[in-house]
C-alpha cells in the first residue's frame, strides 16, 4: 500500500507555512498600513501614556463616575478582578442559580445606597455581568438611571449631564444591528472635562 508519506508531509508543512505564517503576517502588515490605530487596540493616549482602549471597559466605582456593567473577570489566581483585560470571561451563572439572583439584588442595593432617590426598577444590563467581562458599554437607560447621582456628586446641572449622555448615545448600528449603547469610558472622560 502506498503510505502517501511524501505528499502528506510536504502538503502539511507547506500549508502550515502558508496559513500559519504567511497569512497572519500579511494580514498584520496590511492592517498596520490600512487601520494602524484599530489594529493596535484603539488605544486612548494622554500625555504619551496609555489611558485605556475605547473598546475595553474599565472599573468605575466612584459616585462621580458613570458605572459600567458588573464584570466577572478574575486574576491569575481566580480572585475577582473586574475588567481584567488579560483574562476575559463571564459568570456563566444559570438563570435558575440562586447566586445570580442574590448578586443582582446586591448590585441594586449598591446603586440605591449611592443614590437613595433612585427607587425605580434598574435597567437589566446595569446589574448583570457581561459576556466578556470587558463590556465598554451600558444601555442609554442604564446611563439615565445614574444621571442624578453623577450630577449631584459633581455639583453639575442634571440637564448638562443628560445632554452629554445623549451625545455619547449610539443607536443600533445602521439602525438595526445590535442594541443602543453608551461608551462608559469615553463618557466619563468627557465628564471630567466639564468644569
Amino acid at each position: 500500500m502506498n503510505l502517501q508519506l511524501r505528499p502528506a508531509l510536504v502538503s502539511f508543512i507547506a500549508l502550515s507555512a502558508i496559513t500559519g505564517l504567511a497569512y497572519p503576517f500579511v494580514i498584520t502588515g496590511f492592517s498596520k498600513v490600512l487601520f494602524p490605530r484599530k489594529a493596535a487596540g484603539s488605544l486612548i493616549l494622554a500625555d504619551g501614556k496609555v489611558i485605556g482602549s475605547e473598546l475595553i471597559g474599565q472599573s468605575f466605582t466612584s459616585p462621580k463616575d458613570f458605572w459600567g456593567r458588573p464584570s466577572a473577570t478574575v486574576d491569575a489566581n481566580g480572585k475577582p478582578l473586574p475588567y481584567n483585560g488579560a483574562n476575559s470571561g463571564g459568570s456563566n451563572q444559570a438563570p435558575s442559580n440562586p447566586d445570580l439572583k442574590k448578586a443582582v439584588e446586591e448590585r441594586i442595593a449598591a446603586l440605591r445606597a449611592a443614590d437613595p432617590g433612585a427607587t425605580g426598577p434598574v435597567p437589566v444590563d446595569l446589574v448583570t455581568t457581561s459576556a466578556s467581562g470587558l463590556d465598554p458599554h451600558i444601555s442609554p437607560a442604564a446611563a439615565a438611571y445614574q444621571v442624578h447621582r453623577v450630577a449631584k456628586a459633581r455639583g453639575l446641572d442634571e440637564a448638562k449631564v443628560r445632554d452629554l449622555v445623549a451625545t455619547h448615545t449610539e443607536g443600533p448600528q445602521f439602525g438595526l444591528l445590535g442594541d443602543a449603547h453608551v461608551n462608559v469610558l469615553k463618557l466619563n472622560r468627557d465628564l471630567d472635562r466639564i468644569k
Binding site: S11, T19, K38, L55, G85, N92, H137
Partner: protein, 565 residues
C-alpha cells in the same frame, strides 16, 4: 426588540446573496476548473504538487482517500500538541507563556484537529502567538478543508458511474484551502480590523491605571475560526471579546462567515450533480429547521430571565435599552444579536460564542443544545454539515422506499444494505458518545464536581459538553470546569468518535456509490427535489433527534424551565 426580527431576516437575505455565487465557485474549484484566482494561486497549487511528487490527478479508492485524510489529520494533531509543549522555548511569545499540561494539550490538539475547538485552554492567558498562528490557525484551515474534501468525495460517489475512485484527497485538501478558505479569510480579517478587531504582534499593553490589555494577531485567527466553522477563540471570551468582535457590524460578519460556506456547499452539490434543484431542496430543509430554532431562541431571550421577576429589574425592551436576559451578554449586541449568533453557531458546528449559553434562559439554551444533537446538519460545519445531511437524505429515501415498497434510490443510485448500515453507524456513533459520555460523567464524582450551577442546570452543563464535543461544535455551558483529566480525555474521545466515526462511513458510502451503475428514474422513484421530500428530510432529522435526546433534555433544560416558572 422588534428590530431583532428584522435583523434575523436581513441575515438570511445576505446569506443567500453570498451563497448563490459562492456555491458554483466552490464547485469549479473542487473540479479543478479555472477561476479568477488561478492566475495568482494556480502556480502555488502546481508547485505544491511538484514538491509532493504527485500530479493531483491520481484517482483514489475510498480506503486510500480515508488513509490520506487520517494521516494528514494526525500530522495536524502532532503539530498542535508539540507547539503547546514547546511554546516556552519558541519565538513570538512576548508574554512568556510556558508549556501546557499533557492532558490539556492533548484535548486542545484533538479539539482543533477535529474542527471542534472546545476551549479548555485560555486564549490570552495560556497560549503564545506562535501557538495561536502555527497551531490553531493552521488547524482552523486544514480541519475545514478536510471536511470539504470528504464532502466532495461523497458527491463524486453520487455522480460517478461504475468507478473505483472518488478523487484525489491531496488535490481536494489543497484546492479548498488555497482558493476558498484563504482568500475569504483575508477579506473577512481585514473587514474585522476595520471595525476594531486587533491584529498585531505586540506585548500586552499596561495602562497608566494598571489595567492589562491582551494583544495579538487576533483578526487573522478569528476570520478563519468563523469561516471554517471552528470556533476556538483567540481570547477566552471568544466572539464576546471586544477585540475579536468590536461592533454589531463585525458581529454580522462573524455570523455570515459561519454560514456562507455551509450554505454555499448545498449549491455546490446541486451544480456537481447537474441538478440544481437537489441543492436547493437540501438548503430549504436546513433553512426550515433553522428558522424554527431561531424564533424560539430570539423569543425566549427577549422575554428575559423569569428568575428575576421578583427583583426590581427592568428587562423590558424600550427605546432606551434592548432589555431581555442580559446576564452573559454584551450591550452592543443585545439579546437579539446574541440569540441569532447562538442559533447560527450551534446550527453550524462552529461553537464560537458572543454570549454565554450557560446563562441563557432554559428554553433559549435548549435550542443550541438540541441543534448540536440533531447531528450538526442544519447548515452544519463546513463540509461536515452537508455530508451529514446527505446521510439523512439516504435515510429519508430509504423510509420513503419502504412506504411504497420499492428499492430506494438517491440521484439514480440504488441505496442498499451497505449504505444504510454506514449511514446508521454515522448517525448512531456520535449519539452514543453523547449519551454514554454524559452517563459516565454523572456517575463520576470528579466529573460532577466540575459543575458550577445547581439543580437540573448542572446536568445540562455535562450534557451540553458531550453534545458539543461529539458533534464537533465546541461551544460550552462555560461554567463547567472542563480542564480536568476526566474531561480533557473523555471529551477528546467523544470528539474523535464524532469526527472519524462519521468521516470513515461517509467515505465508505462514497466508494460504494461510485461503483454502482446509474439507475434511470422510474415511476416508483421518489423525487428528491420536491417540497414533499424537503418535508420528509426535515421530519427524519427532527424525529431522530427527538427520539434520541428527549429523555435527556427532559432532565435538563425542560425540568429547569418548569421549576423557574
Amino acid at each position: 426588540m422588534s428590530h431583532a426580527w428584522i435583523q434575523n431576516l436581513l441575515f438570511l437575505i445576505l446569506l443567500l446573496g453570498i451563497a448563490v455565487p459562492l456555491g458554483p465557485f466552490i464547485a469549479r474549484v473542487m473540479e479543478g476548473e479555472r477561476t479568477f484566482l488561478h492566475p495568482v494561486l494556480g502556480p502555488v497549487e502546481r508547485g505544491l504538487y511538484r514538491l509532493m511528487g504527485i500530479t493531483g490527478q491520481e484517482d483514489m479508492g475510498w480506503k486510500t482517500y480515508a488513509w490520506a485524510v487520517a494521516f494528514f489529520n494526525l500530522l495536524g494533531f502532532a503539530a498542535v500538541f508539540a507547539l503547546q509543549k514547546a511554546q516556552g522555548a519558541l519565538p513570538l511569545n512576548p508574554e512568556a507563556m510556558g508549556k501546557l499540561p499533557t492532558d490539556l494539550s492533548f484535548n486542545t490538539a484533538v479539539s482543533f484537529m477535529t474542527n471542534t475547538n472546545w476551549q479548555n485552554y485560555g486564549g490570552e492567558s495560556t497560549l503564545s502567538y506562535l501557538t495561536q498562528m502555527l497551531g490553531l490557525t493552521v488547524q482552523n484551515f486544514l480541519s475545514a478543508a478536510t471536511a470539504m474534501a470528504v464532502l466532495v468525495a461523497l458527491i463524486r460517489g453520487l455522480v460517478r458511474r461504475t468507478s473505483n475512485g472518488i478523487g484525489n484527497a491531496w488535490a481536494d485538501l489543497i484546492r479548498g484551502t488555497l482558493y476558498v478558505l484563504l482568500p475569504l479569510s483575508a477579506v473577512i480579517a481585514l473587514l474585522l480590523v476595520s471595525q476594531g478587531a486587533i491584529q498585531n504582534l505586540s506585548a500586552y499593553v499596561h495602562t497608566a491605571s494598571g489595567q492589562a490589555l491582551a494583544m495579538g494577531p487576533a483578526a487573522s485567527q478569528v476570520a478563519i475560526k468563523m469561516l471554517g466553522t471552528n470556533g476556538g477563540g483567540f481570547f477566552n471570551a471568544n466572539s464576546a471579546h471586544p477585540f475579536e468582535n468590536p461592533t454589531a457590524f463585525s458581529n454580522l460578519i462573524h455570523m455570515l462567515a459561519i454560514f456562507i460556506i455551509p450554505a454555499a456547499l448545498c449549491l455546490t452539490f446541486g451544480k456537481m450533480v447537474k441538478d440544481r434543484r437537489q441543492g436547493w431542496a437540501v438548503l430549504a430543509a436546513m433553512t426550515v429547521i433553522f428558522v424554527m430554532a431561531l424564533s424560539v431562541t430570539t423569543w425566549a431571550e427577549a422575554k428575559g430571565n423569569p428568575g428575576l421577576k421578583a427583583v426590581s429589574v427592568d428587562q423590558a425592551a424600550t427605546l432606551q435599552q434592548g432589555g431581555g436576559n442580559m446576564e452573559g451578554k454584551e450591550v452592543r449586541f443585545g439579546s437579539g444579536a446574541t440569540s441569532l449568533f447562538a442559533t447560527v453557531t450551534t446550527a453550524a458546528s462552529c461553537g464560537a460564542v458572543n454570549g454565554w449559553h450557560d446563562s441563557f434562559t432554559p428554553l433559549g439554551g435548549l435550542v443550541p443544545l438540541w441543534l448540536m444533537e440533531l447531528g450538526e446538519v442544519v447548515f452544519g460545519g463546513v463540509g461536515s454539515g452537508l455530508y451529514g445531511m446527505l446521510l439523512f437524505a439516504l435515510v429519508g429515501v430509504f423510509i420513503g422506499g419502504l412506504m411504497v415498497g420499492r428499492t430506494p434510490e438517491y440521484l439514480g443510485k440504488k441505496i442498499e444494505a451497505f449504505e444504510m448500515k454506514m449511514a446508521s453507524i454515522a448517525i448512531l456513533l456520535p449519539s452514543a458518545a453523547i449519551l454514554i459520555g454524559t452517563a459516565a460523567a454523572v456517575l463520576s464524582t470528579a466529573a460532577t464536581a466540575s459543575v458550577s450551577n445547581p439543580g437540573p442546570h448542572g446536568f445540562t452543563q455535562i450534557l451540553y459538553a458531550f453534545s458539543s464535543c461529539a458533534q464537533n461544535n465546541g461551544s460550552a455551558f462555560g461554567g463547567l470546569s472542563g480542564n480536568i483529566p476526566f474531561y480533557n480525555y473523555g471529551l477528546a474521545l467523544a470528539m474523535l468518535v464524532g469526527r472519524f466515526g462519521v468521516i470513515f462511513p461517509v467515505l465508505a458510502v462514497a466508494g460504494s456509490l461510485a461503483r454502482k451503475k446509474h439507475t434511470p428514474e422510474g415511476l416508483g422513484t421518489l423525487p428528491t427535489h420536491t417540497p414533499l421530500f424537503v418535508a420528509v428530510l426535515v421530519g427524519v432529522v427532527l424525529l431522530v433527534g427527538a427520539l434520541t435526546y428527549l429523555p435527556a433534555l427532559a432532565l435538563g433544560p425542560i425540568a429547569e424551565q418548569l421549576a423557574l416558572r
